[in-house]
């Protein structure tokens, strides 16, 4: 589904990624772990298409098509989803309007019929309940006044509504207490399926206790230094990133 080949990239003109190779197939859950500044977030923004991040060499293929040529909204419509590390507050835009507009934009692109208000409300209510999202959170402006946990749950709700094929979760565990972490993880686990791929980006191993990955990769100095199974995460938890030339924090 996702093939990253020899990816070199800059952020604000500075070289951050220095030759990443990574293949993710449908049904797989991958975790990229790495210290601060290793290029984790740069990779997630490159996949989602944020301005200011440029590929200088190599490519990102999504179902065989070069992803970097697509506008962010087209990527989303084609099934790419990024759960933000810092979800953005949008004053004045009610959460339901935002979700409905997003869903119907994606459905239009996919040649599916748009949902009317009734159908949409019914659908979003069910999904919101599963994620323990209160009704008033749907009515409020997008992420405005949300707690850290509410923001992350709102990200997973968007993911559940948009039904992506490739979901990238950027530091989804940061800022969550243990209860919120459980709710969010349950939400993600429900979305695991044979035709969906998930890429988790995280600093700590904690999240991986709840969302157990099939593969773990260590990213440091802009390169994947090592890949392995879920046990690699435990090893990192114990030893830190010191052996990859990164000082303990």
């Amino acid at each position: 589904m996702l093939e990253i080949k020899n990816l070199h990239a800059t952020a604000d003109g500075k070289e951050i990624l220095k030759g990443i190779n990574l293949t993710i197939n449908a049904g797989e859950v991958h975790a990229i772990m790495g210290p601060n500044g290793s290029g984790k977030s740069t990779l997630s923004y490159l996949i989602a298409g944020k301005d200011g991040y440029n590929v200088t060499e190599g490519e990102i293929l999504y179902n065989g098509v070069d992803l970097t040529e697509m506008d962010p909204e087209i990527r989303a419509a084609e099934g790419v989803f990024l759960a933000f590390q810092y979800p953005v507050e949008i004053p004045g835009v009610p959460n339901t309007i935002f979700l409905k507009e997003a869903l119907n934009s994606v459905r239009r692109h996919r040649g599916e019929e748009e949902l009317d208000a009734m159908q949409f409300v019914k659908m979003v209510k069910t999904k919101a309940e599963e994620l323990g999202i209160a009704k008033d959170m749907l009515k409020r402006a997008v992420n405005v006044g949300f707690s850290g946990g509410e923001k992350k749950r709102n990200e997973i709700l968007q993911m559940a509504v948009l039904d992506p094929k490739l979901a990238v979760l950027d530091e989804t565990d940061s800022g969550l207490d243990i209860d919120a972490l459980k709710v969010v993880s349950d939400g993600v686990n429900q979305l695991r399926s044979d035709d969906r791929a998930i890429l988790m980006i995280t600093h700590y191993q904690r999240l991986l206790d709840y969302i157990v990955p099939d593969f773990v990769h260590v990213l440091a100095h802009g390169k994947i230094q090592r890949s392995g199974g879920k046990e690699l995460a435990l090893e990192l938890e114990e030893k830190g990133y010191a052996e990859y030339g990164v000082a303990a924090e």
Binding site: G49, P72, L82, F84, V88, V93, P94, T96, S105
Partner: protein, 450 residues
Amino acid sequence: MSKVVNAAQPYVDQFDAVKDRLPGAQLPWLDAKRLAGIERFAEIGLPTVKTETWKYTRLPNLEEQGFRAATWEDGQVEVSGVPAFFNDADSLTRLVYVNGIIHPGLSRLENLPNGVSLEPLAQVLVNEPAFIEKHMSSEQAGYDQGFSALNMAMMESGTVLRVASGVIVTDPIEIVYLCGSTDQPIYRHPRNLFILGNGSQATLIKHHAGIATGAYFNNTVTEVSVGDGAFLRHYTIQADCLEALHLSAVNVRVGRDATYENFNLAIGGRLSRTETRVRMEGRGGHCNLSGAYLMKAREHCDNTTIIDHLVPDTTAREVFKGVLNDEARGVFQGKLIVHKDAQRTDGYQMSRALLLSDRAEMDAKPELEIYADDVKCSHGSTTGQLDETALFYLRSRGIPEAKARNLLIQSFVAEALEEISDIKVREAMANLVIHWLPAQCYLAEEWKQA
């Protein structure tokens, strides 16, 4: 000095030519006021960039435009209809002017509630001159604004709204001003008088729209009196055409425990300036002067407000939001004067502008003059661009860029629209905002369901 006199001279000549035909001619007190007005105008002249309160608003060369006085014939130009502000507009009271002349076919005054009158100034000058004399304050001849003095001299049309004490009017009353489509650009000097008796309530909508393209020049002065315990909602929609010049001075007195709510939505006009002066004269009075302006091309919109807190325990609130595209310019000047005795004044003022283009420009000048010691006043002013992070967030969820931009602009303006306490008017204004936005607009219905 001689230069100023020269610039004013054509107006003085015009006044001499038309003064005997103006409404109320031969009323000695009015003749005296008109004369004082033209003398004052000749003395001050047209504002220039050196005029402190006109620092950011430069008038185009009015001589070059070849404006002439509006005639009865100008009111007979063909009008296809009135731009609908409300969906159920057909049942609401409205007075329609076409180039300053009342259009009886489009107006609907039969459902005016008891205790409310809505009449042309000229008619009231004939029937009740003493009423007009009483409500045109004597100090007006000493205007420090040239255009207001000129209006005093030249006022030829306008509307008198009276709501008797204790009368509560729930349905909005709309005054529609359609302008344009004349062979030559015309100028007009309407003078409005809105008088709310003690304990009365009303909602008034002034709706300005261009009939077709073409220049015209409106120089309006509106006197408003909100009696003790009264509540006036005074809304303006300025949807003039791209070449229109629109100057409006609004002078308001707010009585004890009275509320004056003013919202000005400007979505069109080559140059517009609304100068609102409010005198808080009674304890417990509240005023809200807010607005939104959406300007494109080389349009220019100036909102200038001056609020005088004269007595203790009055409150004022101002929220202005502007969206400026292309080479449009916005100006906000907000002055709050808390006089010596006006203890416990509570004033809040906010001006925010969104620049959609590198060539758009915003000038904001908040001013506080405080002479009392126990007051709560705050103000803030920001000018910025569309939040790129928010834009990316929306796009990353599949929302196309143009639509995402609209959504952000719409939500930016919505914050100002929230100042409108009449929900129906707020929704109608939100609709106008949506239609101003570039392609791929939202339907208001969708927005409302939230």
